[in-house]
């Protein structure tokens, strides 16, 4: 059952960020809306600030102007979670004590303390998204919902994408698929392109690296391919060196997707470490700190397997 447009426009969701001019999140030039909250814990996650569903505190030590000049946050914190280090006179966060109440954020003049995530309505989001509307027409782009996992907020995501459709905007989502089928179904009706991850094939290794096995994820994808033959699906794998950069995984994904004509492509996303510093801002430890980059040759070899699987000429030749 869908809401009346007026009610849907007022629905709120937990939004992490709206990123403009994205070229890797579906067709054309897109505006990607990152929602907060994820149901997986991939050790390589490059958006750690998107994982927890609620708004959370981050701290950039470089921006702190010190207790002598300021010290306002120390008076605000009710949890003993902020303290000063004598050596540089700046504050630090005891992340074990911080409850993400956010009271320190508005009083921090240099915004060294800030918060990831905010409540936004469907209207708020689309007002910002529509600023890029002229680019969509030329490029075939539109809005992409990403995360976190956008399907964990099914009412908001469905309302947002339905309203985008009503305004003539092309829609896409990026999902890892680990949600109840009902969430999937509810949102996918309003989606033109579904970018969906196949992280690891073996359920045991999937659990080791991602936190849960992939049994439900695969069942959801299978059901989605069959239930929505008119939708466009694009499979993707974030390729992590030593984790899933093997031919067996790529071939297994191809075997899974190729029987379905609505899965039009399989894309590889090479591992990068751009998210590393964000772990620091959140006081968390990055598990993959010593991981090497993905050799270009590996990527070429895996890409060639995909091209062969899709019966097309190898890319770049």
């Amino acid at each position: 059952m869908s809401l009346a447009p007026e009610a849907a426009a007022k629905l709120t969701g937990r939004v992490l960020n709206i990123q403009h001019f994205c070229t890797n999140d579906g067709p054309g030039i897109r505006t990607t809306v990152f929602l907060k909250g994820c149901s997986l814990r991939c050790k390589w996650c490059c958006n750690p600030e998107s994982i927890h569903p609620k708004p959370e505190l981050a701290y950039d030590l470089k921006k702190c102007i010190g207790e002598k000049e300021c010290g306002l946050c120390l008076k605000e914190c009710p949890e003993h979670a902020i303290y000063v280090v004598e050596a540089d006179g700046k504050v630090r966060i005891n992340w074990d004590l911080c409850t993400n109440c956010g009271k320190c954020v508005p009083v921090c003049p240099p915004a060294a303390l800030y918060q990831f995530g905010q409540e936004m309505t469907v209207d708020d989001v689309l007002a910002e998204v529509e600023q890029d509307a002229s680019f969509y027409h030329e490029s075939g782009g539109g809005i992409t919902l990403s995360g976190g996992e956008c399907l964990l907020q099914p009412e908001f995501s469905a309302a947002l994408l339905a309203e985008a459709h009503r305004r003539g905007i092309n829609t896409a989502i990026e999902t890892e698929g680990n949600v109840p089928w009902e969430f999937f179904r509810q949102v996918i009706e309003h989606v033109d392109t579904v970018l969906h991850d196949h992280k690891l094939t073996d359920p045991v290794r999937h659990k080791q690296w991602v936190g849960v096995d992939n049994v439900r994820i695969k069942a959801n994808y299978q059901r989605a391919y069959e239930t929505f033959p008119a939708k466009t699906f694009i499979a993707r794998t974030p390729v992590i060196p030593g984790v899933n950069d093997d031919e067996e995984h790529i071939r297994a994904v191809l075997a899974f997707i190729r029987p379905h004509k609505n899965v039009v492509d399989y894309q590889l996303l090479p591992y990068h470490r751009y998210g590393e510093s964000k772990y620091g801002f959140l006081g968390r430890v990055y598990a993959l700190k010593d991981f090497p980059s993905l050799p270009a040759e590996t990527l070429r070899r895996l890409q060639a397997i995909i091209d062969e699987g899709f019966g097309r000429r190898p890319q770049g030749t």
Partner: protein, 393 residues
């Protein structure tokens, strides 16, 4: 106020990782409780015994009787440790197959109530990566109404207001012994050894073990170093007829501002929650566990600055095990008994600390968010300088 008759059951747990002497705290608490007519139970593996009772067919808690004293001395913790137990962020897979970090502190408090436990003794200490995690968890449970007395344990001896945490003396002794072997071996073949010892936040262990092992130089987190100066100091040792053989480096030692190019890339991040992180060195991002890297980078640079063959070593966990020294045996028993006596006196929200010659209780907040570092002008530092030990400053 003394404990009323209905409050006769207490519990003890080890809220962070292993070091020598934990069994003596447990035994000390069991013996003192028995003398005072209190019942005491040990919670297995931090808080896991309460959070996951299904994992413990023989029970998540174990009644500690005076006979437990017979089991000490084998270097085991008796009730298990849990370096990462955090009842406030328990990773859980929900019925909906979602991964969530759930606050289960309420379950801990409820399980304690059900077990008739009215107060908890928690062993807390620092971690190289996450800082004073266990102390913070104990503090939060205390603020939720759990009667709490903490006992300090530490490899670095960096807990504020605690001159001697449990385990430090044993680790110091093991470290000094190992360094002595390294020094003699290196001296004999004419090489210079660079040995990294635990100490992310404070340099007590590097300084005191370096003193004990007759090191030529010690690099501490408290004193940013200049390796060109250190090389000159080592050359001076040669000039006066002393063949330099051992440089002791704390894990958290770092170069002085502007000299970061002496170091290979540390990986961009370092030292989660380390109060010493220096933004001038690009260290603002808090998080990195760089254990093992410091000795290598210092050795590499010293090899370039001197004509010596340099050998890097990282002692790390090698010095955390083993049997406790006599000092830690006494201290462990005293801390265990002291915590029980404090609870019996009606104290709550305190940390027991040995401040010779007394065992005192201080409020938990006095130790929270603080690090006890080596004062550069202290007698210990002056002694070291008088002996010709260089600090690279």
């Amino acid at each position: 106020m003394t404990m009323n008759s209905s409050a006769r059951r207490i519990a003890i747990n080890i809220g962070s990782g292993y070091l020598p002497g934990l069994d003596l705290v447990v035994a000390g608490a069991a013996l003192a409780a028995s003398e005072l007519g209190l019942e005491i139970v040990g919670i297995r593996d931090g808080y896991d015994g309460l959070l996951y009772p299904e994992r413990y067919p023989e029970g998540g808690t174990v009644v500690l009787r005076p006979g437990i004293a017979d089991a000490v001395g084998h270097g085991r913790s008796l009730i298990g440790t849990a370096a990462r137990t955090d009842p406030y962020h328990v990773r859980t897979i929900t019925a909906e197959h979602q991964i969530e970090e759930i606050d289960r502190s309420g379950d801990v408090l409820e399980a304690l109530r059900t077990a008739g436990v009215h107060a908890v003794i928690s062993l807390v200490g620092g971690s190289a990566v996450t800082g004073m995690h266990a102390l913070s968890v104990a503090f939060k449970l205390h603020r939720q109404g759990l009667r709490t007395v903490c006992v300090p344990k530490s490899v670095e001896n960096e807990i504020a207001s605690v001159p001697q945490a449990l385990g430090y003396n044993s680790v110091l002794s093991h470290t000094a012994e190992t360094l002595e072997r390294i020094r003699i071996g290196a001296q004999d073949v004419g090489r210079l050894a660079v040995a990294e010892v635990p100490g992310q936040h404070a340099g007590w262990l590097a300084l005191q073990s370096g003193l004990a092992a007759l090191a030529d130089a010690v690099l501490l987190p408290e004193i940013p170093y200049d390796l060109a100066r250190l090389a000159k100091a080592l050359a001076h040792h040669e000039d006066v007829g002393r063949r330099a053989a051992l440089v002791v480096v704390a894990e958290g030692a770092r170069p002085a501002a502007g000299l970061a190019d002496h170091l290979p890339d540390a990986g961009g991040m370092r030292a989660s929650l380390t109060p010493n992180a220096d933004p001038a060195l690009g260290e603002g991002e808090h998080v990195i566990d760089r254990r093992g890297a410091t000795a290598k980078s210092v050795a590499l640079t010293l090899q370039r600055l001197t004509d010596r063959d340099v050998l890097p070593f990282s002692l790390g966990h090698l010095v955390r095990g083993g049997v406790p020294t006599a000092v830690d045996r006494q201290l462990g028993l005293a801390y265990g008994a002291g915590a029980v006596r404090a609870l019996h006196r009606g104290e709550d929200g305190v940390l027991i600390t040995f401040q010779p010659p007394d065992l005192k209780s201080i409020p938990l907040v006095e130790a929270l968010n603080r690090i006890r570092t080596v004062p550069p002008a202290s007698e210990l530092m002056q002694t070291a300088r008088a002996l010709g030990i260089a600090f690279g400053d």
